[in-house]
Amino acid sequence: MRNKIFVTCLTSLLLISQGCKNWLDQLPINTVTEDQAWKTGSDAEGAVAKSFAIFRRALAGLTKDDTPSTTRNGAWGDYYFWGDARSGDWITPNNDGDWQAGFNNNLISRTQLEPMTNWRLFYRAIEQSNLVLENVPNITEGFTAERKAQLLAEAHFMRGMAHFYAARVWGDIPINLSARNVTPLGREPLKDVMEMVVAEADEAIAVLPWMYSGTRKKVTSRGTKGAALALKAHALMWLKDYQGASDALNQIVEEGTFRLAPIEGFRDMFDTGESEELIFQMFYDASIGEFSDYYGHIMTYYLTNPYTSRSNLSLAVPRSKILEIYPDYARDQSDKRVAEFFQSIDFSVGENEIRPIFADPLANGERQIMFAKFRKAKDRSYNLMDGPVPIFRYADILLLKAEADARLGNVNEALVNLNLVRTRAGIPAFNKSDQPLLIEEILEERRRELIGEYQRVYDLVRLGRLHEFNPAITEQGEKDGAGFFPVSDEAFANNPNMQQTYYWQFNQ
């Protein structure tokens, strides 16, 4: 008996010591740890997709989930704020204080705007790309070498893209090219940032294909050669390397993957994102659950009944401004874009009924015309917003190339591309070959074509001309950095190397 017990004890001890080998490896079942996260090709696919997802959220805006110091519950569609609000073209018909403060460049004193000065999500997208570039090279299973190279190229693209976008918003920004980089980084000159963006884009251009298989929307929401070239060209424009920009853009034009959609194709482009004209956009699709909430898509603010349940306009372009921007429409209503971008609603109909749309887009007078470029009718409970957020599209590329060519003195080439866009809009071709006049017209065309597409302010800031259009900004102010957003308080925490933009050291 005693022996039996002894044997039993011994065997159980043996069994236990076997079990003990793994006893201390407790891993979560609701998520994975860092060691588990980088094993196969699908991990790499997911990680790269995640960097795009974070960038998408960065454009929509920081929320309480992202940082404890933020009071904002939902994203506000910050891309609009950064890229359009201060262009001087917009008003707030219901006198919303937040919008008005934004128009007036009161970016610090209005505390509700504080989260917009926080770049944390851009650096999350950058860190996610850094992690991909650190870990994916070590993954060998579950994908082809070609796909691996593509994913790494996409990470370069996204790292460049996030730096580029942040630099357009804040000017000089820290450059972070290594994972888990907790050193307090100071801001680098804008020029260095753009050069780094060009280098990242070049890495991507060398590897990325023009197209993947899949719908246009899906393909163009990821890093492609076209998107990387567009990024490179935009960065080079900031560096005033017009030849480089023109060459990069030329590759997109030569390739022929993208083309201008007919004016009838605008609804596909701005409602569903399925268009040959789009080169890079943010992916939204309510049918697979990827929609932005009540706030996240900016169209919530400028659409009303019959598209959303909102009864009054919060954001609009005034009638006089529309007529100023679209002189051809003012003259003979020839610019077809006005009817595509603006609508007037019969506000006399009660808000519980579907309000009819007037035939005349500008029927509603000075302050009540709805900006309806993005007007995908969604469920009227306000959420499930999944309109496209275009970053680069072919018209933007043609006009950017026209600007580069014009500045290089290639007037004829510039005119060709400018007139491609004008012809589509149904307005007469521009024929003046005087360089300054041509450059001015190209900028105006960009304003007409890209209104509400988060480009206008960056064009003006790039050229140092925001003060000409926004009365709240002076010429000296713009030289001191008024065109850029101030840096949030949070960026100064634990970072002695952080500096506030000169203008914002003295202005609120």
């Binding site: 979560p28 696919e45 995640k50 959220r57 990827e290 949030s488 960026a491």
Partner: protein
């Protein structure tokens, strides 16, 4: 059961009898214990022969004997006795219990130790006396004031709430609220149990330990110093509490029953100005401060208004006398077969506040079987319990204006005046443990034990907003599983001349898993449902899981020479799944020495010295943290946002992982929090144990407490955890016990203990930067953690009185601008004069100072036990000296906003010195409700008060019934008693009870007062 035992014994006797048939001359005798109880199955033999027998069911034996032979009688649990047979009377053998010998051993980690040989700082509390006559939700509150250096504070009077236990000083740091408490480890019958649940996994707020029926506990041993506790390694830094449950004793079965009924009385409540007094006070504030054109609400001015004449006593309405019932019963017994113990208990403690209460149902069965001639002992314990706490979901306000009618008044009958709702909180626990002890050879014991523990908490709550009539439901379940496997080998030989050795080698593996599932909903619901059954889209559900495991190897070696010189050491290695491969194992050593100086020759003739010991020890123990995966680098797959969108989860339908940005990345450097403790002590017992004196001095340095450091935004991460904070606790502990017998009828025992603890922060992260405690949502807690000062000190504005004249308000000579008050307040006469510490003419956070220490300096307790004939009187008091607290509950009620009239109740202004006109020497500034900033600032050094108190906690008068009369009724023992609980508190504090404050010294407003109780009970033993 008893019959089975009897039959077994009888059978044995019958089987053995034939073997003895050859005996020549048989004599019959009887074996009893010292009380005359017969002993069945005792072995009786003749020395030097192989003749032996066992006693039968009547305790009788028959043995052939010759005069002059020596009878040897032995029985487990009794001293073996030798009797020389000369005459018939010698055949009646009386054995003496060896239980005293057992009692002189004390339970320590993974074993027992002879009291005399103990070298660590260990306190033992026999619970029987406490649990028999007192009733408590949990055993912890019964330990209050019993152990020097163990500070137990009942922070709330709510039934089922958790007391705070801090052994030898607070050693926990957090950036947020002060809920970081250094919790001890709880071990029940050798098995560490689940004593708390991490915040994110806890569903109910009920004290997890309240499901242990205090009546089941035999004794509690507190391991205070490192030499005693370090054997528990990584969880022992804050002390270890060893709980031993009651077991059966030999003799006839012990059947006991204890029934008591307590009446809970409402104690002193908040001071309220009722009816006319409230009208007068409101009128006074309006007359003094109301801006032009602002008039009082009609109910204060119009005598015809139905509310005008009300004087509602809201507290009186919602607080009511309630009843507590507690029943427990048990059957226990033991014999050669082993022991059994079965107990049941039920407690129903109704709260004094409307809709609150606590119930406990518990049952426990413990059995031991001896096999293989007692070389194998198998113990099984099964304990099942449930606690049921009822609460008001959103906290019930008892502070309505006295002009508002009570819900029972005709005028509002049927209308719901206060928030509807109910919250039920169930905690269930099942503990099962089984262990086998094998005595291979002499002095060598092997023990294997397996224990399983399962806890489940469930909360179902329903609450409705009075204003919107919208209802919220939430249901949640949290489950924890704990699996523990322990193996120990004990070798305790005695050799040579007085050398004794005890060697322990052990291994344990433990795994703890917790899972939570909860759903909640918000809906415009007209029904009162406590479950969530709203349509899809309205309910938000979530679940979560966490698990951790520990693998440990430990050893202890104790050596004693003639019980005079002792030396001991222990070593434990703990590996935890919470750490990365590189940093997984922590080593926790300890050494201790002891000298029983009374055994030295020079003390031989000192009559009054009974015993004396000097002890010293040093050791390292540890703690970890709640977040099981912190060091591993948790990746985040994203979650649905508020609008059920996948935006944070996938992009183009592809989902992936990113780091969890909030807690930073994989952090292999994270390691054990280690606590180094040295202790010197002395135990002296004088005058035949009439006076006992225990002294301890300790120093405990807790190193590497986990704190976050925020990271630059450019990293993408919010913060990272580091082992960054060090806290030092130093203290002295004194215990004096006396035992005075005056004649045979009168006996007086006292136990006085007091302990001094000084607490100091030694190091903090980010270059010792101050931590101003703030919640994640930015709420300022008014506490600071600063190096060189005690933990969680008040961080307040320094009061310099009240501005009596305009000229006292400082003016900046450079700008001509007056000092700007808090919240940019324009200062005026009657406002608080805060010192502008940095001279920038603005009062803001930079002007705060360290304004007081909320940690108690002295804590202790004093117990007196008188016994006269059959009467007993027991008085327990506790005290705290030298702590600072703030009456935030009162300050909150003095903060009036411009819509103050007709909402909340008001304190009676006559009881407080409130500034009204120039020249008033007042504690509180002007209470102008129309001021642009709050007049009463809670973080004001003026309001820091002395939180010392002396509390007579309980007094019991008991009477033992006459045993002759009881015998006739078939009752062995009976006692009736009456206990008064929470009798009186002596304090300087302005609030109702200086004990009911948070550990960081704030009287939490809306706190639940501690009831006074009068308890009547009968305790029977059959």
């Amino acid at each position: 059961m008893e019959t089975i035992i009897q039959r077994t014994c009888f059978l044995l006797v019958v089987l053995l009898l034939p073997m003895l048939a050859f005996a020549q001359k048989a004599h019959t005798g009887k074996v009893t214990d010292q009380d005359g109880e017969i002993l069945i199955g005792a072995t009786v033999g003749v020395k030097g022969t192989d003749r032996f027998t066992v006693t039968d069911i009547n305790g009788k034996y028959t043995l052939s004997l010759k005069v002059g032979e020596t009878i040897i009688c032995s029985y487990i649990g009794y001293h073996t006795k030798e009797v020389a047979y000369r005459q018939a009377s010698d055949l009646a053998i009386q054995l003496e219990s060896s239980v005293e010998e057992l009692e002189s051993a004390i339970v320590i980690g993974y074993g027992t130790q002879i009291r005399e040989e103990v070298t660590g700082s260990i306190s033992e509390i026999k619970m029987d006396k406490l649990t028999e006559t007192q009733v408590a939700d949990s055993f912890e509150s019964l330990l209050q004031g019993k152990v020097a250096g163990m500070n137990i504070q009942l922070n709330s009077g709510e039934p089922g709430s958790k007391p705070t236990i801090i052994i030898r000083g607070l050693a926990a740091v957090s950036r947020g609220d002060a809920s970081a408490v250094s919790e001890p480890l709880y071990v029940v019958d050798g098995v560490p149990i689940i004593s708390r649940t991490a915040d994110e996994f806890s569903i109910t707020s009920t004290n997890v330990l309240a499901d242990l029926n205090p009546s089941d506990i035999e004794d509690v041993v507190v391991l205070k110093d490192a030499s005693a506790a370090a054997i528990y390694g990584s969880r022992a830094a804050n002390g270890v509490i060893l709980i031993t449950t009651k077991k059966g004793r030999r003799g006839k079965p012990q059947i006991s029953f204890n029934a008591r009924l307590g009446i809970n009385y409402v104690p002193q409540l908040q001071d309220v100005a009722g009816g006319a007094k409230e009208r007068e006070q409101v009128a006074r504030l309006y007359a003094s401060y109301a801006p032009y054109g602002v008039t009082m609400p009609a109910m204060y001015t119009d005598a015809n208004n139905p509310f005008y004449n009300n004087s509602s006593d809201w507290q009186g309405y919602l607080y009511n006398t309630s009843v507590t019932q507690d029943y427990s019963g048990s059957i226990r017994g033991a014999g050669d077969f082993g022991q059994y113990s079965i107990s049941m208990g039920h407690m129903d403690n109704k709260g004094i506040l409307f809709n609150t209460g606590f119930k406990r149902y518990s049952t426990m069965a413990s059995t031991s079987f001896n096999a293989l001639k007692n070389t194998l002992v198998i113990d099984n314990t099964l304990a099942v319990s449930r606690t049921d706490q009822t609460r008001n979901p959103d906290g019930l306000s008892t502070n309505y204006s006295t002009l508002l009618p009570l819900p029972n008044q005709e005028i509002v009958k049927g209308a719901e005046v206060y928030g509807l709702g109910k919250s039920s909180n169930l905690n269930d626990r099942i503990r099962f443990s089984s262990n086998a002890t094998l005595n291979f050879i002499k002095n060598l014991t092997y023990k294997a034990s397996l224990s399983l523990e399962y806890t489940r908490s469930m909360q179902d709550s329903y609450s409705a907003s009075r204003r919107t009539l919208r209802a919220t439901n939430s249901s949640g379940t949290s489950e924890s599983r704990n699996l523990l496997f322990q193996n120990t080998l004990n070798y305790a030989p005695k050799f040579g001349d007085g050398h004794s050795l005890s060697f322990l080698l052990g291994q344990s593996a433990e795994k703890i898993e917790t899972k939570i599932t909860s759903v909640s909903s918000v809906s415009a619901s007209p029904t009162l449902s406590e479950t969530v059954n709203w349509p899809t889209g309205n309910a938000i559900g979530s679940s979560n899981y966490t698990g951790s495991s520990i693998l440990s190897y430990f050893s202890r070696l104790d050596y004693s020479y003639k019980q005079k010189y002792m030396i001991g050491g222990s070593l434990r290695a703990d590996g935890s799944s919470k750490f990365g491969q590189a940093n997984r194992w922590g080593i926790f050593p300890s050494v201790s020495v002891g000298w029983n100086f009374d055994k030295e020759g020079i003390f031989e003739d000192v009559e009054w010295l009974e015993s004396g010991k000097i002890r010293a020890s040093y050791g390292v123990s540890g703690t970890t943290w709640n977040n099981d995966y912190l060091a591993l680098g948790i990746m985040d797959g994203g979650s649905l946002d508020n609008y059920n969108s996948n935006l944070e989860i996938s992009y183009g339908g592809i989902s992936g992982y990113s780091p969890s940005w909030y807690d930073g990345f994989k952090n292999e450097n994270l390691t054990w929090v280690k606590s180094q403790m040295s202790n010197v002590g002395m135990d002296v017992s004088l005058f035949g144990n009439k006076v006992e004196f225990i002294f301890d001095a300790y120093e405990k340095l807790t190193k590497g407490l986990l704190l976050t450091t925020s990271l630059p935004t450019t990293s993408g991460y919010n913060e990272v955890y580091r082992n960054a904070a060090n806290v030092l606790n130093r203290g002295l502990e004194f215990t004096v016990n006396t035992n005075i017998n005056a004649g045979t009828n009168f006996n007086w025992n006292t136990g006085l203990n007091f302990a001094l603890n000084r607490n100091r922060v030694v190091a903090l992260p980010d270059g010792n930067a101050d931590i101003i405690k703030t919640s994640t949502s930015g709420q300022d807690f008014g506490s600071i953690v600063r190096t060189g000062t005690p933990l969680n000190g008040f961080f307040f504005y320094e009061s310099q009185g009240i501005y009596q004249t305009e000229s006292e308000i400082p003016v900046n000579p450079k700008t001509g601008a007056s000092l700007l008050g808090l919240q940019n307040k324009i200062l005026a006469v009657g406002d608080r004069n805060f010192k502008d510490q940095n001279g920038d003419y603005i009062i803001d956070v930079d002007d705060r100072i360290y304004a007081g220490d909320p940690n108690p300096k002295w804590t202790g307790g004093w117990t007196n036990d008188f016994r006269y004939k059959n009467f007993g009187l027991n008085i327990i008091s506790t005290f705290v000296v030298g702590r600072k607290i703030v009456n935030t509950a009162l300050l909150d009620r003095l903060q009036f906003g411009k819509d103050f009239a007709g909402t909340g109740s008001m304190p009676n202004f006559d009881n407080y010195s409130i500034w009204e006109k120039s020249g008033d020497v007042a504690k509180y500034p002007t209470l102008n409700p129309w001021n642009d900033a709050s007049q009463i600032v809670s973080y004001d050094s003026e309001y820091v008060e002395d939180g010392s108190y002396f509390k007579v906690k309980a007094a019991t008068l008991s009477y033992n019934l006459n045993s002759k009369m009881l015998n006739r009724l078939g009752i062995g023992r009976a006692r009736v008693y009456c206990t008064f609980d929470n009798i009186v508190t002596f304090q300087k504090y302005s609030g109702p009870d200086a004990e009911l404050v948070t550990i960081d010294g704030f009287d939490a407003s809306g706190g639940y007062p501690m009831r006074r109780m009068m308890l009547f009970g009968v305790s029977l033993g059959l």
